[in-house]
Symmetry: C2
Amino acid sequence: MKKISILGLGYIGLPSAAYYSKFNYHISGYDIDKDHIENLKNSKFDITEPGLSSLLKKQIKSKKLEFVDLLPKSNIYIVCVPTPLKKQKKVFKPDLSYLKHAIKSIKEAGVNTKTLILIESTCPVGTTEKVSKIFSADNFPMIAYCPERVLPGNLLKELASNERVVGGIDSRSTNAAFNFYKNVIDSEVHKTDSNTAEMCKLVENSFRDTNIAFANEISLLSDKVGINAYELINLANKHPRVNILEPGPGVGGHCIAVDPWFLINGFKSSSRLLETSRKVNDFKPKFVLKKLDEEVVSFKKQNNREPKIAILGISFKPDIDDVRESPSLDIAMAAKKNYKDVYVFDPYQKESHDIDICKEEDIFKCDLFLFLVNHTHFHNSKFTKVFHTKNSLDFCNFTKSKVL
Amino acid sequence: MKKISILGLGYIGLPSAAYYSKFNYHISGYDIDKDHIENLKNSKFDITEPGLSSLLKKQIKSKKLEFVDLLPKSNIYIVCVPTPLKKQKKVFKPDLSYLKHAIKSIKEAGVNTKTLILIESTCPVGTTEKVSKIFSADNFPMIAYCPERVLPGNLLKELASNERVVGGIDSRSTNAAFNFYKNVIDSEVHKTDSNTAEMCKLVENSFRDTNIAFANEISLLSDKVGINAYELINLANKHPRVNILEPGPGVGGHCIAVDPWFLINGFKSSSRLLETSRKVNDFKPKFVLKKLDEEVVSFKKQNNREPKIAILGISFKPDIDDVRESPSLDIAMAAKKNYKDVYVFDPYQKESHDIDICKEEDIFKCDLFLFLVNHTHFHNSKFTKVFHTKNSLDFCNFTKSKVL
């Protein structure tokens, strides 16, 4: 049985480890965070992804999946480490230190000409070629870039069903990557070179970012004109060649709000649209706070007292617990700072988070409601009653009945 | 039989006149251009739209359609006049003089409370409400804004099959407009107010413009990185939630390159993305000319003489004759100015146009080929041979095999 090591056990690495262990491979899950490994060894999983916990437990029990402190020599290494952005002098630069560290660990664990290294972390174009230079010519492994495209909340299904793009640094690497993914997914695998594969991932998320920015800009324009953005977009989408996304409180998550910077950085003059999209999406939370302030002022005028404000939802999208880069969390934190009585509630969050989360019953004594995340949990008579009877602002299309 | 007058017999008005006359209406086609009316009376049609000529002839013969110099009193007036942009101090402002003139003519021809006025011309938000103010209260007609969404080249089909949005200045107007379109189209009609209907049209075309700008920006970035934009986009579109359009030489036509300005104008601070999209698309022809220049310089170095340059296609999209706002026409004109030997060929253009069109056989003696419009006419062995054996630049995805 071939041995696979997965480096980086976060939102992608951990589900991937569980998923790939269902096939004829032995999987070693490795992470530089020793505490994280210790938790995983004790079956403490901190990711709410449908079906993941039970699959992990099953695969660990079957001995096809284990978690390790030391990276073992393997036939295949899959790199899923983070590549965050560092802000340097107002410019975002990708921090490739985790990736470089992972590649160095792989070299130390041992490679030969039959070893396959698959990089799934998001990278600037040219990274795979660059990092491969550390391997010596006589033991040069096969290396390919293979972006993941999965949607949090539907990860295990999309790992199986999404088409994949694989780009090797040479055709031997491309073919080896092709054969691996062909074996473990139920969909097509497309071959290209590593530069194109790297750019492919960045372009995909930039496309999403620009289209969300378009929706958000339409919501700003609709506000100026005084019409309902959700109704407008619904009508425009009746056009056979138009498909406008939904406006929201901004853009979050670890991909869409981040990846465009990997393209903008270095090609500023050729990426004006991508940069403007980022700015429009980053502006949206400020717009939400401005609208909240208008409501607070109006409430105070009418009631001669400060309103109790309820903020509903802080994750970056509905029905998940992920708050990375979440504009709703930023809005909640700013509101806590700006106003006296602010209650933040999210059914997916425990009290131990970046922000105090109130009990659900505390919400209903509030005066002013800010709907930020369209969690399914909110779709019941208690919340819809609040929406229709109290002062409410809807920035997540909670219902399509109120002007944004 | 109810009488309909159609004001403005251009790309939309003329096909609409032909199409609506198939139903239980008598249609009078009216235009302020007397020569145009004279030509139409003599069955001289200058629009190449599939099926249109034969339908016009048939409907004229059946006496259900006639062309008139004087606007007759009618039950329904449909306004299809142009609303061009005027450049004033570097800012584009919509020129509503034709629309105002049309509304004035309608008032003079005669209206009463049962008259229905349908405005199909593209307008800034609020225009329908504004122009309706000229009617006196006692004879106030029903007025609705009903944007058209048809695709040149497929117009007669889309007039029947596209869903429509109708927005009256009051509910009586909305309902009357709804009933008219419901009677003549095979698809759904959606009711809203006139402001939302006006904005709907602008948003639809702005969506297209931003998405073409995204594709064009990706082509610029791909050029910097040295990868094939068409291959890249093809791969990215394998993502389940990504649908990137095709890059081209720029954006033309009377809608997509124009309509975003109706929104940008007046709301500049809330339309940064729309404005950047326009700038990116307007820059693309300059990029094409730069790439052409690089090829010319390289040819001269290798051959010690000026190349004969062939430019293929000048319309704003494939398989039509329309050159309005066409970036390919602009590129052809600039190339004619910049270089000595430039041959421009487009199978849809006669010699009498804005630019000299060469004979098809002259093309094949050229050295350097610029494919700008992907006309079906070019897809034969003569042109594909040229593409593969001579120096060729492809800006219309003529084949997917060459780097943009």
